[in-house]
């Protein structure tokens, strides 16, 4: 059995910035435990001599020439924003009052 607790799920939700209800946390705690128990079998064959693969077709040093190319206009970049102020994204307070 995995050791996943409701407190742990609440902490993960906070890290992931998802405001889960306590009912969602309870359900996810059970589901996550089952999933983690199942996927933990990767450790059976992941011995120290096996190198990790992060990317299926490894490429290195993918650069382009350092020249200016057309990009989004300010209006295009702001077109999907829920709120804007002039040429900027408008956001709620970054710091709370504490």
């Amino acid at each position: 059995m995995s050791e996943i607790t409701a407190e742990q799920v609440a902490h993960l939700a906070n890290l992931a910035r998802i405001d889960l209800s306590s009912a969602e946390i309870d359900r996810l705690t059970v589901e996550l435990g089952q999933i983690v128990d199942s996927v933990a079998k990767v450790a059976e064959v992941a011995t120290p001599d096996v190198p990790a693969t992060s990317h299926p077709m490894p490429l290195t040093n993918v650069f382009r020439d350092d020249v200016v190319v057309p990009s989004l206009t300010v209006d295009q970049a702001l077109s999907g924003a829920p709120d804007r102020a002039g040429d900027k994204f408008r956001v709620p307070a970054i710091l709370d009052e504490e």
């Binding site: 992931a16 910035r17 998802i18 983690v36 990767v42 064959v45 990790a52 299926p56 989004l72």
Partner: protein
């Protein structure tokens, strides 16, 4: 007039090129059919009727003026909603992006427009491509045209259902763990996941960046090849795009139609993808197909891929890990919805958390939390690190297998289309459904699904999966076209001609029975 909606894209291209039909006629026929059947099928999230007809009229005018156009010019196409389109909403099946119209096109969308295909609209999908049934779409599921009470596969169930229901001759899909191939299998259509890096991912809303690949969704292998030729090739806007000079996939498919195309081709049957857990009718059609291949001169042998047993586990660590970081961009600032918390101070952090709670569905939350867990300090080595090692082992299994054979085959999915709700309460059961398709994504190799019959017990389509070494996509098309021709000659018809008639449509055979 010729029935325009049940033509292949290749046939339509011929009729358009010789002036037998106009693109406006072809486009209108598909739009009318969408109006007739999509209330039942729900393959589309958005239909761009006016824009499609206007684009078709422009293509017709240019053809009439003598302009030389590309091979698929004037042929309609449906676009999976994971792909950014500057003139249509792009939601990736999520509430968090409801109504979002991107300021740019995905590279593949730009390429189909440049090739003068006619975008019909955007197709339904599991939210952020997380799922195997489209039941995780925030906009309701797509229904399988073969049986409206069953799933069309996922995540690209909308694109597969659109071509299977003759709403579009072509569609674009994306495949992270089978999202093109599994829907193709359960809807009796064709789907190809190209070699990783063979088709640009620029403008495809990222699920798991090291696994995602865009590809064609069609009714025939040749049509898939024609579309692959339009969308494939290097894109400087995608740093993982391969710079290879690719051969013509259409020429490769046509080579497969020649006599003797299967003679001496070495086919490997993957032992680990042919055992317990596969539906009887799926196994039966697979064995029959292997027998036909042998009779046609192919050399069929069994190969072992011992580490495939660990593929699903590795995938459901790597995918959530990558997804949890990719989906961090949905921060209620730059695009998508913004939801304020019900009480307390309005800080950016709290607004972001409230927005993501309201905007993400259950499966997305589940995978983000799982990915956050897998990447946590203290668990990283045991989970994510081990999964990356399994990825190496799976690549080695493929390398060893391709030393012995030219192509690998398996059933595309363990079962035919299941009923809505059957696996919604058991995430692991849904995940295990992807066991056949996931290894190709982990290794980056190309894979195809094409129909190989109907399961006798339920009369539903069964798919054959074919896999080739990385960069050998052309081999897939040659073999796929040969197998398709062999099977259709054996049946005496195409598989989709046996699909039941949908509402208000009488042009398709309703008799049929098991193939």
């Amino acid at each position: 007039m010729t029935n325009l909606i049940n033509q292949t894209a290749a046939a339509l291209a011929g009729l358009l090129a010789d002036g037998s039909v106009s693109s406006v006629d072809v486009t209108r026929a598909h739009l009318d059919h969408i109006d007739a059947v999509d209330p039942d099928v729900h393959a589309f999230l958005h239909v761009a009727r006016d824009a499609a007809l206007a684009t078709a009229a422009r293509v017709d005018a240019r053809r009439a003026a003598g302009e030389k156009l590309g091979p698929l010019a004037g042929v309609p196409i449906a676009i999976k909603d994971v792909l950014a389109t500057h003139d249509m909403p792009t939601t990736s099946g999520s509430k968090i992006l409801e109504g979002w119209i991107p300021p740019y096109d995905a590279t593949v969308v730009r390429r189909i427009r440049a090739a003068d295909l006619i975008p019909l609209g955007k197709t339904n999908m599991d939210e952020f491509a997380m799922g195997s049934s489209t039941e995780h779409s925030a906009y309701g599921p797509t229904h399988n045209p073969w049986d409206l009470d069953r799933i069309p596969g996922g995540s690209g169930g909308g694109s597969a259902a659109a071509v299977a229901a003759f709403e579009a001759p072509l569609a674009l899909g994306s495949d992270t763990g089978g999202s093109i191939r599994q829907p193709a299998a359960v809807t009796g259509s064709v789907g190809v996941k190209p070699t990783y890096g063979g088709v640009s991912r620029y403008g495809a809303i990222a699920l798991a960046s090291s696994l995602d690949q865009v590809g064609p969704v069609t009714r025939t292998v040749l049509d898939a090849a024609l579309l692959h030729d339009v969308i494939g090739g290097h894109d400087p806007l995608d740093s993982t795009s391969l710079t290879d000079a690719w051969p013509s996939m259409a020429a490769a498919a046509q080579a497969g139609l020649k006599d003797g195309a299967l003679t001496g081709v070495r086919i490997g049957v993957i032992k680990e993808l042919n055992g317990a857990g596969f539906q009887a009718g799926v196994k039966q059609r697979f064995e029959e197909t292997l027998a036909l291949l042998s009779a046609a001169g192919a050399i069929v042998s069994e190969v072992s891929a011992p580490n495939f047993e660990y593929a699903v586990s590795a995938y459901y660590l790597i995918l959530p890990a990558e997804a949890s970081s990719n989906l961090a961009r949905f921060d209620s600032v730059r695009f998508g919805i913004r939801v304020n918390p019900e009480d307390g101070p309005l800080t950016s952090e709290r607004v972001m958390a409230a927005t993501r709670d309201a905007g993400f569905g259950d499966e997305v939350k589940r995978r983000i939390i799982l990915g956050t867990y897998a990447l946590s300090a203290g668990y990283y080595d045991a989970y994510y690190g081990s999964a990356q090692k399994v990825r190496t082992l799976i690549q080695r299994d493929f390398t060893a297998a391709f030393d012995k054979v030219d192509l690998l085959v398996s059933p595309t999915a363990p079962t035919t289309a299941f009923k809505f709700g059957e696996k919604m309460d058991d995430p692991m059961a849904m995940y295990l459904n992807d066991i056949t398709t996931i290894p190709a994504n982990l290794a980056g190799i190309p894979g195809m699904s094409l129909p190989m019959g109907l399961a006798p017990e339920d009369g539903l389509p069964v798919g054959l999966q074919v896999m080739a070494p990385a960069r050998a996509d052309a081999r897939l098309y040659t073999f796929g076209a040969a197998v398709e021709q062999l099977l259709e000659a054996h049946w005496g018809h195409t598989l989709l001609s046996r699909a039941p008639a949908l509402a208000n449509t009488e042009m398709f055979a309703t008799e049929g029975g098991a193939v």
